[in-house]
Amino acid sequence: MPDQIHSETNLHQEAEELLPWYATGQLESDERLLVEQHLSNCAHCRRQLAFERRMVDEFDALTPQVDTGWARLKQRLEPRQSWRRRAARELALLRQSFIRPQVAAVAFAQLAFVIVAGSVLFSLSRPSYRALGSAPPPQSANVIAVFSTDTTEPQLRHLLQSNGASFVGGPTPADAYLLRVPATSREVVLVHLRADHHVLMAQPIDGASS
């Protein structure tokens, strides 16, 4: 008899411990059976099960709002990689614009924003006074380009010099640069720029086709 009492006490303890997971349906079939058999003759555990079910309901409603952001986390990813992806995406969109007319509107709207934002930033960054010996005001840009992040200064200098190009503005919010290239040879320069592996994107920006 003492053995039987001991065994029933163990069974009760085992079943009671399992009740939370019985309430959430997370028990294996043998454990579920054990709990169900015990519940049929234990009023204490039946009351406890009611408590478990109420807790599940209450916890479901107890949902604190925590505002965390993907944008912030994204900044912590490899900066170079995310930059490359963004530049590649912009370039892909522009490429598509020449294939699919409906994408062209989106692409050029985006490009227009980049140019306007870049121009505004540039004009804001210019001093309103002119010191003696200051360079003449820059000419308007006629090419927008994005360079890969691993481009070194000498490579960039050579790239610009060999194509008769100069910086007019940038970097824009999209990390693009505004360039001025000789108007008469712009199409040739664009071909050269696009062929260079340091150039992720090069597009004309004053309405003329490339």
Binding site: T24, Q26, E28, F51, M55, V56, A61, T63, P64
Partner: protein, 205 residues
């Protein structure tokens, strides 16, 4: 330092409840494969799946919204950087929650005192509200106070059981402890919850 558990520390095999993994799990594993190849879009999708669950889990452990953000971001950065170390011996969700739990414990070691009083003050609204709303708010406040009396380990077990609906085996893996420890922690946590709630919720205790 090992960031992701690849062994079942509970010493028992994780038994599948269905014939195969559900579609959502397969999608997550596919995302993880892409994350291993540094696919940022796949990582964003996995983040959006786990953000609400992790935020909910961490807010109960840490209590400080700023710390929750920090630990959640740190957790997902470990997922991003060590996706290749996930061997599939446990569920992906178990792996991610285990990382979050370890990060939370470390953060708690740095910030041991939760801002309990400030939080409580902000939770109680003085706006007039319907009786049912008032009752719900009263219950939620009581439950949140009741959670305050639990240890970090007990809160983790309670939240993972009641809210996240995890089995005690999965919880044992997340907490890196034997399954019997999970059962014992839950048993004592329920007892303390009941005591803490007895004044407010006598009708259903």
């Amino acid at each position: 330092m090992r960031e992701g558990p690849t062994v079942n520390v509970s010493g028992t095999a994780i038994r599948s409840r269905t014939a195969g993994p559900p579609q959502g799990v397969l999608d997550e594993l596919e995302l993880l494969e892409r994350i291993k190849a540094h696919d940022v879009d796949a990582f964003e999708r996995l983040y959006r799946i786990y953000q609400p669950r992790l935020a909910r889990f961490l807010v109960h452990l840490l209590r400080r919204p700023q710390l929750v953000e920090e630990v959640l971001d740190d957790t997902m950065m470990v997922v991003w950087k060590t996706a290749g170390s996930f061997r599939g011996t446990s569920k992906l969700s178990t792996w991610v929650f285990a990382i979050a739990y370890r990060k939370a414990l470390k953060a708690r070691a740095r910030w041991p005192d939760p801002l309990e009083n400030e939080e409580r003050d902000s939770r109680v609204s003085n706006d007039p509200s319907p009786d049912s709303e008032l009752e719900r708010s009263r219950v939620h406040d009581a439950l949140t106070r009741a959670m305050d009396v639990l240890s970090t380990e007990q809160r983790a077990v309670v939240d993972l059981t009641y809210f996240h609906g995890l089995s005690y085996r999965d919880i044992a893996e997340i907490l890196s402890c034997p399954v019997d420890t999970v059962k014992t922690r839950m048993f004592h946590a329920r007892r303390r919850l009941k005591q803490a709630l007895s004044g407010t919720l006598a009708d259903w205790l």
